[in-house]
């Protein structure tokens, strides 16, 4: 009885799936140079090969002397330039790092980390919502928003 039941289920399954499934899988692959994460932080741990962000946060005060924008990339096999652009609450560009070479594309990198740091000067820093944008090979790949709060907080 069980044998017939198994055969019956298999036949029904085949009829059901025949038009829907093929066992020849495609060769779809995502592009290389993937962004794994972007973080805003206060410090960087450089004790190992790959850098690590420390004190990750999205709110800073005038007491903090800097804001770090950290990025981790993976599957890198082509030439890569990175560029950070920092914008003040009135949406004006206040810092542009220009293109910085991360990989010359001469070998495969499973992962790479990099960061840019914006120094907070209490005398001319504006409170409010700031924006930092990252470009890879002059193409937008990500952004982070952060708040600069009064130091009394």
């Amino acid at each position: 009885m069980k044998k017939y039941l198994v055969v019956f289920v298999l036949v029904i399954s085949l009829v059901f799936f025949w038009n829907c499934i093929s066992f020849k899988a495609g060769n779809l692959l995502p592009s290389e140079n993937q962004v794994e994460s972007i973080h805003l932080c206060k410090k960087i741990d450089d004790s190992s090969d790959l850098l690590k962000p420390l004190d990750i946060q999205s709110e800073f005060t005038l007491k903090d002397d800097r804001v770090i924008c950290f990025i981790k990339l993976k599957d890198i096999s082509t030439k890569i330039d990175l560029k950070w652009k920092w914008y003040s609450p009135d949406k004006k560009l206040v810092r542009d790092t220009g293109n910085i070479i991360v990989s010359k594309g001469d070998r495969y990198l499973a992962a790479a980390t990099a960061y840019d740091m914006y120094k907070l000067n209490p005398e001319n820093i504006a409170e409010g919502q700031w924006t930092v944008v990252i470009f890879m090979n002059d193409k937008f790949i990500g952004k982070k928003l952060f708040q600069i709060l009064p130091s009394s907080r």
């Binding site: 066992f23 899988a25 779809l28 995502p30 794994e36 949406k91 810092r95 790479a112 937008f140």
Partner: protein, 641 residues
């Protein structure tokens, strides 16, 4: 301005690329699909969404959809938005909260118009969006947006949505064409299925997710299954919906047991359940519901709702209920709610049955001077006693008046139950008085005290009985006191005095010491000692019991992958170990974790129970393989989250 760049800022790791295909996973997936087809509508389908049903149609070089997280990621994608053709380097869609975000060389084209930007945040349903460019300043351009702002912060949510996250899903699909319908169902064409990151079968067309689960009009076969214990079971439903006018659902359940050898119940059974609502106007609707069971049990309900205003509503209803082997009952009912604002809420309902049965209910509630609450309710029931010409007639009423302030709260209740048929009258006034928890010694000690007094008076025939009881409870507890940087102690004490007319008085009290010691980061030890005593005082007799418990809990949480605790319990009074429990969870690989619960009984000197769980956290659901030693069961569960 200092730049944080240098050669040290860039570091590199070379990894090994593994590729392993396990054909058995295909069968695991087919199993999952068959489960999910019933549970949440994921599965194979031949239905192709029409153009009208399609919310957004994506074509890209690479599109990946995670069933676990109901999220989509795409590269070099093109789609239509409003009257524009849009292209972008990447797209992220979080379907559950309806967030659509295209970025990287975004181009919107319409006839002679061409717009460029770095980010495009859009609402596919409302056909409006925001295009953002990062040049010398941030430039924001609204697309068909008419001043309705799409929060720019919204796309910050999607920083967690990465291809890496999707590729770590238990089930995800990759392809080049994906449609999302207006019901937020996701359809893929020529998509490849990945199970636990391993490439498996390819589908020509596949409904990838269940969307918002809207029913379509017509008949559908919901389930047919067979088991040795239940027999053959089938479920069919008929649904009809006309937007904002008619909503109707009828379900038929059929069970065939006649061919089962040891089945003691009915040979077959049919259940029909139907419910229809019709909206005649915005403030007027009617409904009809009915249930039928083949064992000759059926009932039906008709109702008409009228909202006279936002504060006044009335319902008229008629119901007929036919129990098995008993005469049917036909009820006519009326109920109404009136919100009079500062004068309080009034509700009343009445039902009459043609065999002279009736039910009535009235309630009034209001709040005075912000802190005083008043509630009055009364009910009357006249119900026929089964197979008799007599009626049970009961009147009951309750009044509650309460006052709460910053320091204390007081509440009085009066409950009355008058059984007219049995000639019994129970009246029960109560008084509750309590001090709100208060703190002293700078918040170190917190105290709470309350008292409940209850009086009962029962008049039955010519006799009258009285009884009363009073309960007073005092609790004291301390905040944790740090004896050392890594060691804290807190203490709680409680005392209760119960007094009643019959003299079964008792006094109970106890205290608990709780000591916490942090050993190293992620590992802590908690010790607990409790002493509880209960003394009965009756005339010259004092008797009672005392119990003690000493227990220790070791908590281990050194990393995200490992956490758990082990507890030991000891009875100091009898110098005896009692039992031990352990609850340990260990992350194994990817999102798989092993979880175990163990119970050891020192008195029986054996492991009483072991539960082992192998768990895969998969976003919207959890897959669990469970083994239970007590019942010797092995279970596989799919638990929605």
């Amino acid at each position: 301005m200092e730049c944080g760049w240098g050669s040290k800022n860039i570091s590199v790791e070379i990894s090994k690329l593994n590729s392993l295909k396990n054909f058995t996973l295909v069968f695991l997936l087919l199993f999952l699909i068959s489960r999910e087809t019933n549970a949440s509508n994921m599965g194979l389908t031949n239905q192709i969404p029409t153009k009208e049903d399609t919310l957004i149609s994506l074509k890209g070089e690479y599109l990946a959809y995670s069933y676990d997280f109901n999220q989509l990621y795409g590269e070099n994608v093109e789609f239509e938005f409003s009257s524009y053709s849009v292209s972008c380097r990447q797209i992220k869609i979080d379907i559950t909260p309806r967030i659509f975000y295209a970025f990287g060389e975004v181009i919107l084209k319409k006839e002679d118009e061409k717009l460029n930007g770095d980010e495009f945040l859009f609402d596919s349903q409302a056909k409006r969006g925001t295009l953002i460019s990062y040049g010398e300043k941030i430039e924001v351009k609204e697309i068909d947006n008419e001043g309705k702002e799409i929060s720019l912060k919204k796309n910050d949510v999607l920083t967690e949505l990465t291809l890496a996250k999707i590729q770590k899903s238990l089930i995800y699909f990759a392809g080049q064409t994906i449609h999302i319908t207006t019901d937020f169902e996701v359809y893929g064409y020529n998509v490849t299925l990945f199970v636990e990151g391993l490439e498996s079968v390819k589908f020509k067309k596949f409904r990838l997710s269940g969307g918002i689960g809207q029913r379509r009009n017509g008949i559908s076969l919901n389930r047919v299954w067979y088991t040795k214990s239940q027999g053959l079971i089938g479920r069919v439903s008929y649904s009809y919906e006309k937007e904002k006018k008619v909503n109707s659902l009828t379900q038929l359940n059929y069970e065939e047991h006649s061919f089962l050898k040891n089945y003691s119940g009915l040979k077959r059974q049919v259940d029909i359940i139907s419910s229809t609502t019709i909206n005649l106007k915005d403030d007027l609707n009617l409904g009809l519901a009915g249930n039928y069971n083949s064992s000759n049990l059926w009932n039906t309900l008709f109702w008409l709702n009228k909202n006279w205003s936002k504060k006044i509503s009335t319902q008229v209803n008629f119901s007929y209920n036919k129990p098995i082997n008993l005469k049917g009952e036909a009820w006519f009912g009326l109920q109404s709610n009136i919100d009079t604002g500062k004068f309080g809420n009034i509700s009343f309902s009445g039902k009459y049955e043609i065999q002279n049965q009736m039910l009535a209910n009235f309630s009034y509630g209001n709040t005075f001077l912000k802190n005083i609450n008043f509630l009055l309710s009364s009910t009357y029931s006249q119900i026929k006693i089964t197979e008799s010409s007599d009626y049970s007639k009961i009147f009951s009423g309750a009044v509650n008046l309460s006052y709460s302030s910053r320091i204390f709260n007081v509440s009085t209740d009066y409950f009355l139950n008058y059984d007219l048929f049995g000639d019994q009258l129970l009246s029960q006034p109560q008084l509750r008085l309590g001090l709100n928890p208060f703190q002293f010694y700078g918040g170190l000690i917190s105290a709470n005290i309350y008292n409940i007094f209850i009086y009962n008076n029962l008049k039955r025939g010519g006799t009258e009985e009285d009884s009363y009881s009073n309960n007073t409870v005092l609790t004291l507890s301390t905040q944790p006191v740090f004896l050392h940087k890594s060691m804290s102690l807190n203490y709680s004490f409680s005392l209760e005095q119960f007094v009643e007319k019959e003299g079964r008085n008792f006094t109970s009290g106890g205290f608990i010491f709780n000591l916490n010691k942090s050993i190293v980061k992620g590992i802590s030890l908690e010790g607990l000692y409790s002493l509880q005593s209960r003394r009965k005082t009756e005339d010259w007799l004092i008797e009672g019991t005392t119990s003690q418990d000493l227990s220790a809990v070791l908590k281990v949480n050194p990393s995200e992958r490992l956490n758990g605790w082990i507890s030991f319990s000891y009875d100091p009074k009898n110098s005896q170990w009692r039992q031990s429990f352990a609850d340990i969870s260990v992350g194994i690989i990817r999102y798989w974790k092993l979880h175990t619960l163990i119970h050891y009984d020192f008195l029986l000197e054996k492991i009483n129970n072991v539960d082992l769980y192998l768990i895969r956290d998969a976003g919207r659901f959890q897959l669990r393989f469970i083994w239970r030693s007590l019942s010797k069961q092995f279970l596989i569960e799919l638990v929605p989250r």
